[in-house]
């Protein structure tokens, strides 16, 4: 699987994905990402990029904040694209 040349999600896109869980407004999304939100975010990214993210314990820990998730998804999707 590859990311088919798509750019990794931006911060705004990650927030939009999180906001869709619970039909929230973007401004109601918190910086901290809970375990349910993380499952949602990973599922959504895998769906949209048609890939299975190669998660590690460390990457899951890093995705506990929006900033960390943006950076980590960038790395994970770049890795998938290389593969």
């Amino acid at each position: 699987m590859t990311t088919a040349g798509r750019e990794p999600p931006t911060r705004a896109e990650v927030i939009a994905v999180l906001a869709a869980l619970g039909d929230r407004a973007a401004e109601d999304v918190t910086e901290r990402i809970g375990s349910l939100e993380l499952a949602w975010l990973v599922s959504q990214v895998e769906e949209r990029y048609d890939t299975t993210l190669e998660l590690t314990d460390e990457s899951v820990l890093q995705m506990a904040t929006v900033s960390g998730a943006v950076a980590t998804l960038g790395e994970l999707l770049a890795g998938a694209g290389d593969g």
Partner: protein, 480 residues
Amino acid sequence: MALHSASQSHAAQEPADTFPSGEWVHEELLAGDPGEPCLLMGASSPVTRGDLARRVDEQQHLLEANGLRPGGTVALQLPPSVEYVATLLAAWRAGAQASLLDHRLVRREVDNALERLAPQVVVTARSASAAPMAGYAQAVAQATARAAGRPAATQHVLIQLSSGSTGPSKIIARTAADLIGELGRYELLDQYPKRGERVVLLASMVHVLGLVGGLLHCLHAGVRLAFPERLTAEGIRDAVAAGAEPTMVLGVPFHAELLTAGGGPLPQLSRMVVAGELIRPWLPGAFTDRYKVPLGTMYGMTELGVIATDLDGRTHPALAPAPGMSLRVADGELLVKMPASPYIGLIDDTRWADGWLRTRDAAVIDEATGLVTIMGRLDSQISVGGLKVDLTEVEQTLSALQEVDSAVVTYGGVIEAYLVLRAGSSVSDVESALADQLAPYKRPRDLQVLETMPRTATGKISRDRAVLRAAAGAAPTVGQ
């Protein structure tokens, strides 16, 4: 509220001198073809009924080597694993009373629970490993004898702690007969999985839905129980697709939302059933559009197990009482007939009295059809992915921190806290302190610092979210 001691009260609190033997475990849960797979954890080899029986033997020896005897008590704090299942069944087969503690609880919560429950043996994970976001773990249990432990004071075999709405949490207890009765209710539900079928379990096996509706039902009825390699939408669909049997997915509403965001029909999928909290109105239709099978719902409580169901999604949001359940509504609150109080220790007449359990859920019963519609909670309990959290507990824990002057906790999709800090304290100090006090799912996701607490005209601290948010002013949110 009238509180009085159990010894002065009801039949449920009979002494344990006639504590039931553990024979029911074999008869109800372990009997059957030893070659038949019963637990399927990701890509690992299936665990057969024979395998499980051997693991139960081993765990029973471990418990007995630590002094557990018939009528004794044991507390389990293990992640979802074959080890958890084997140890729980071993405790019951040893004729003991088992308390279940969520493996996500932090040290303080566990210590408080052990102090109240006084188990003679505590079983924790000596080692546990799980793939990232896995639906199960590989665990090795270790048992520790506690000199301060006490034998069972009642005949109950299962003890669970509620999220306490006022004061300490309640100790909820169930007898073997009560659990077997609930298994009988599931057996009478035509659409619930039968022998030769499969359940993919997403709900926690420590809590009543996953424990009885998932684990115990599957063992009792000869249904294979599968756990996904990863708790993501793709991981859940892979788990469904991994076997040929008709398969029901059992989880909480969040899991249905996860699956509804993508994917398509799976030939094995017969239905998904969710419980634990109300679902959003659009969800059943959206789920069925995508997977071409029903999204059913159930309503139950730790105290009683399954109470009402709509497994076909035909009467949503109304539910039919499960076989043998008698319901009524008084002053807008749902009451369920229950012969004895499910609470050990202090009995609260506002929760159980005269053979009726007060659910604290608002409900309406259609007199013509007998169907019940649950409207929502009447107290401060909320649900985070099906896990019950009492906002009062969160607020009291926050308020007790030395960094916090005062705190108000509200819920608006996530748990929110509004804080007035003591001089020299910061939000990160509060977060650090809270990490030692509350399990992650109970911690506020949004912490807002206020100069002072807004008050109502009568001088009470306001609990109005709009007022609190206004007081927080232009507090930073990541979406802006």
